[in-house]
Structures are given as C-alpha cells and as structure tokens.
C-alpha cells in the first residue's frame, strides 16, 4: 500500500479539486430535543457543508448505491404489445467524502451479494463503480461495536483513507485516481514519526470501544437457541416498522411492484427496499404468511445478519455501526438481543 501525508489546511484544496463532481458526505441536519447535533449523508454544495467531526449519521450511505425506491424499467404499451426501456439510473460519478470504516465495509458486503454473486445487479454495480470514496477515521461512539464484527478498519473498497494526526492527515492510497489527486495537492511521503503517530491513533481507537458483542460460535448458538424465550420478549416490543432495515447500511431486501399508468399507455416496474420485520414481508400469493409473528420476523433479521450470511460468505452481514439500535423506538439493539439469546442479559 502507498501512504502519504498532507497538512490539514490542504484539505479544502483536495475537496475543491474533487468538487468538479457531485460531492456527497456527512452534513449537519439539525439538533434533537436535547440539543444534540444530528447528522446525515447528503449532497454537499460547499466545503463548509462537510461535517467531518460527525457522529453516526441517521441513515447509512446505502441509498447512494441502493435507493429506497428505484425504477427498474418502464414500458410503452401499444395496442397488442409493449416496448421496454431500461435505465440503470447512473448519470454522473459521485465523490463520497468522509466515510467511516463501518460504512465502507458495509459497501464491501453489499458487493458480495449484489456485484459478485450469481446474479449481479447492474443498477447497483453502475452506481457503486461510479463512486470515488474518501474514507475517514473515527472515534467509537457508545453504540459502535464494529471491532466485534471485524469491521473497525477498512482494507479495501475505498480510493483513499484519511487518518487525523492532529495537524496533518495520514493517507492510505488505494487507487491511481486518488494518487493523482494527492500529487496535485503535493502530498508528501510520511516520516517514521508519522508512522508511529498513525499507529498510536489506531491503538487509541481500539481502547475506546464501550460496546462489545460476543461473536464466538454465534452461528451455532443461534441454532441452539432457535426457540429461546428471548425472541418472544423482543418480539413483544417490536413495532414491525422496518426502521432498523431502513437505517442499516447492509439490509438489501426489496419488493418489486408493477404499476400501470392511468391512461393505460405506460407501465413501470419499481423496486422498493423492504424489511424482514414487516408483516407483509413473507406473505405470498394466496395470502399465506410464512412469518406471521413479530418474534419470528425479528429473529430472522438476526439470523440473516449473523448466521445465514456467515455460512454463505464466512463473515457477518452486520458491521456493528449501531444505527438500527439507535433508531429503534422500541430500544431493540443488537448487542442486547445477542447477549440475551446467548443467555446473559
């Protein structure tokens, strides 16, 4: 890997160079009822919109590669047949400025399913390949448990990754494009001292995690505890609202709906992200529902994240960002759910 350093004051210059493209990044959205700042990822219009000291964004970066609603195709309906139009909805490259390791790893996991699998998804790949990602280091918040999931540092899936060393940034360079941009701002080779400093910063991050999830043998334990009482207790609280999936950077389940225009001259096919916690999720034609109970639906969300995906890809689908637990109005959080299923509250 190639490493570089540049003084902090050059960050805006780097931003401006990249800003010939559409810029996306963390930005301040408002204050909550206690005066705490609320952040989300959004399109940025100036360097000042960028809030690099952000705490967990409400939503993940998912929507930029996997929109909540996406038109997959449209149809011109003639008298007896139709003409289909497909648009993968990629019009311009995006620069994503300031993505934490959990969110980069989330994209890498989505890649496994949507880009590398038996049925690659062109709508996803088109968008994913057209994003230039500037990663950014972070300090753990109370809800973060990425270190338990092995996603606290990102090894690939970005173009460059910035670590804050006080007065300068230490940069990991992964793409030729990133290298070019860094040459334009005259970044330097890091010194031995910079290496030292970088290692210290990362060691400090590792000390600061407040939340831990025991993942040893979790796939087996989930099988053993399939009928655990804990599922019913969490199920009682669950609102079946789908918020957890909507804010999760790796939930990708969807439903497809076909609509005919009122004039009967056009039709379209829309994919909308769904959630396994919704009542309609496992309903099939004829009206049968395979998972009518809240507890079963909730359980299967955990099974997909922490068991099914592990068996298919040898890693969990959860990156430990903690967003689902933060957003859940019923206070259902993965660390608590997993601990209770393991039998230690």
């Amino acid at each position: 890997m190639i490493f570089k350093v540049f003084p902090k004051k050059k960050l805006s210059l780097l931003y401006e160079l990249l800003a010939v493209n559409t810029m996306v990044g963390p930005t301040l959205k408002g204050k909550d009822r206690n005066g705490k700042s609320l952040y989300d990822f959004d399109v940025l219009y100036t360097f000042d919109d960028l809030a690099l000291d952000y705490t967990a964004t409400i939503h993940s970066a998912k929507r930029f590669v996997l929109p909540y609603h996406e038109k997959l195709s449209s149809f011109d309906i003639n008298k007896t047949d139709w003409k289909k139009h497909v648009d993968i909805n990629v019009y311009k490259p995006l620069v994503f400025f300031g993505m934490h390791p959990c969110d980069i790893n989330a994209l890498n996991k989505l890649d496994m399913v949507l880009a590398g699998n038996v049925y690659p998804n062109p709508y996803y790949i088109g968008k994913r390949k057209n994003i230039f990602i500037v990663g950014l280091d972070c300090s753990p918040e109370p809800q973060c448990f990425c270190h338990s999931m092995g996603t606290d540092s990102a090894l690939h899936g970005f173009d460059m990754f910035l670590t804050d060393l006080g007065d300068k940034y230490f940069v990991e360079v992964l793409s030729a494009t990133a290298f070019d941009f860094l040459s334009q701002i005259k970044s330097k080779e890091p010194s031995k001292k910079d290496h030292q400093h970088y290692k210290q910063v990362n060691a400090l991050k590792n000390k600061n995690f407040a939340t831990n999830v025991e993942t040893n043998d979790l796939t087996k334990i989930l099988d053993l505890e399939f009928d655990a009482k804990a599922w019913d207790q969490w199920g009682d609280k669950c609102l079946s609202c789908g918020t957890c999936s909507n804010v999760c950077p790796t939930c990708y389940c969807y439903g497809v709906e076909e609509n005919i225009d009122l004039d009967l001259k056009n039709a379209n096919k829309i994919r909308s992200l769904h959630s396994c916690n919704l009542l309609d999720f496992a309903k099939v034609s004829g009206g049968h529902n395979f998972r009518p109970e809240k507890s079963t639906r909730l359980k299967y969300r955990y099974y997909h994240k922490h068991r099914g995906f592990v068996e298919a890809f040898e890693e969990s689908l959860c990156v430990g960002c903690g967003r689902c637990g933060q957003a859940c109005l019923a206070d259902i959080t993965p660390p608590e759910v997993i601990a209770s299923v393991r039998g230690k509250e």
């Binding site: 959205k29 409400i58 609603h69 079946s240 009122l262 909308s272 309609d280």
Partner: protein, 270 residues
Amino acid sequence: MDQQLSYLGVPLTRPKVAFFDFTSCEGCQLQILNNEATLLDFLNLVEIVNFREGMSEKSDNYDIAFIEGSISRPDEIKRLEAIRHNAKIVVALGSCACFGGVNQLKNRFNDLNWVKKEVYGDFPIETIEVHPLEKYVQVDLKIYGCPIKKEEVEKIVTNLVVGKSITSPEYPVCMECKANENICLFELGEPCLGPVTRAGCDAWCTNNRRGCWGCRGPADVANVRQLEEIMHKYGFSNETMLDRLECFGGFASLTKEIKKTKKPAAKRKK
C-alpha cells in the same frame, strides 16, 4: 370515449361508478376532482353516473359505489342500504367512511343530547352515535386517509379496471418516513403515531415535520402497548397519545384496551 377500452389487446369494461357522501367534509371527493392533469384519463377509465359534487345527472345503475362520510343520522342508514343494494362493489372512501373519522369524536361525550344542544341549539335534528359504513353494510374495499391521496385512488381504480389485485401496505408509516430520510419527530420532541398507523400516505405529515395523527387507522400490526412506552419515554402523557389515537376513530378497539388497564396503573403510582 365510446371506443372500446383495452390493455395489451385485452378488452376491458369501463365500470359504471357512482360517488356518494354522508356525514363528511366532502374533501375526499374533492381530491378526486382536484386533479386537472389526470382527470380526463380518469374519466376515460370509468363511466361516472352519479357524482353530486361534479355533475347534475343521476342514475341508480352502477357497479362501484365510492362512499364518503360516516353515518350519523337514522335516515342515512336507509340511503346507505339502498346504495349497497344497487352496487356490486362498495368502496369506503376516506377516514369517515372507514372509521367514523373526525365526526366520531362526538361519541367521546357521555351525553349526546347535550352535544346536540350545543351544536344545533333550538333547531335540533335527529342524530345518532357516529359509526363507519361497516357497522351497517358490507364494505368491499377501504381507501384510507383524511383526506385520501388522489394518486392512491387512481392506482386502485386502474387496478380495478385491468383486474390487478389491490393491496394496501400492512406496515406502519415509519417505513415510508424513514425511506424519505426524515429525522424522527420523537427525536425533535414531537409525538407521532407513525409506528402504529397504516402506511400508504408516503408519510405525508412527517415529511412536513408534523407528527402523524393516525388518519389511516392502525397498521395490521399496531403495537399500541409499545407506543405507550415510547410516548412515556419521550415525555408524553397517555392523554396526548389518546387524543391522537381517538381523533379519526381507526384505533377505537385498541384504545379501549389501554383505557381499561390504565386506571389501576395510575392508582398504583399514588
């Protein structure tokens, strides 16, 4: 207009449609007319034979009756039964028809005679407890909302004409609210019924930073018990919650439960 309607070569019948209103503000019907861009296409799909708000001719020969409003007078029951008798499909249009709507708030008062006196003074008319259509006749389809969303009605009518199945989301408003990337109103210090209310409005109110009042009635899973906990956690009283839950009548059976078990809990606190 007289030419044969068809979709992909399959001939379709234009259903004869009638609109009726009972106790309501007629806002739902207005939503349908309030639609210049697509009104002609709408009129091409169906044959409207009765629509007091939009035309003067009338006929009792119709396939689908769209009925707005709740039942609040004895004479309305007879008229409703006659419509049911004539129509193949009865569609309840909007919260009043589906749940009683805002009108049913009057049922909250113990003394309906006092209500009558307050409202009509010395010119009383005969009124009864407010109820949804379902109390008196079979309803085949419900279109939720106060008011209804015209896009939803158009979709339902298109699907009816081409013979596609018609579904309403079973999940709550939060799903749509989050997909629209709103900040949760509870975090901003406002109560919201989104977690228990049926979606389909695309989170109309919360998109505009107003908490949901539950006009579309309960989602198929409406965990009102948990909502109560959420309200308390964010500092809202049961009264605040019940005001909202009772506003449109959709949650009637669920609020009864809460009121029943709430009293002993309050006593315990003392």
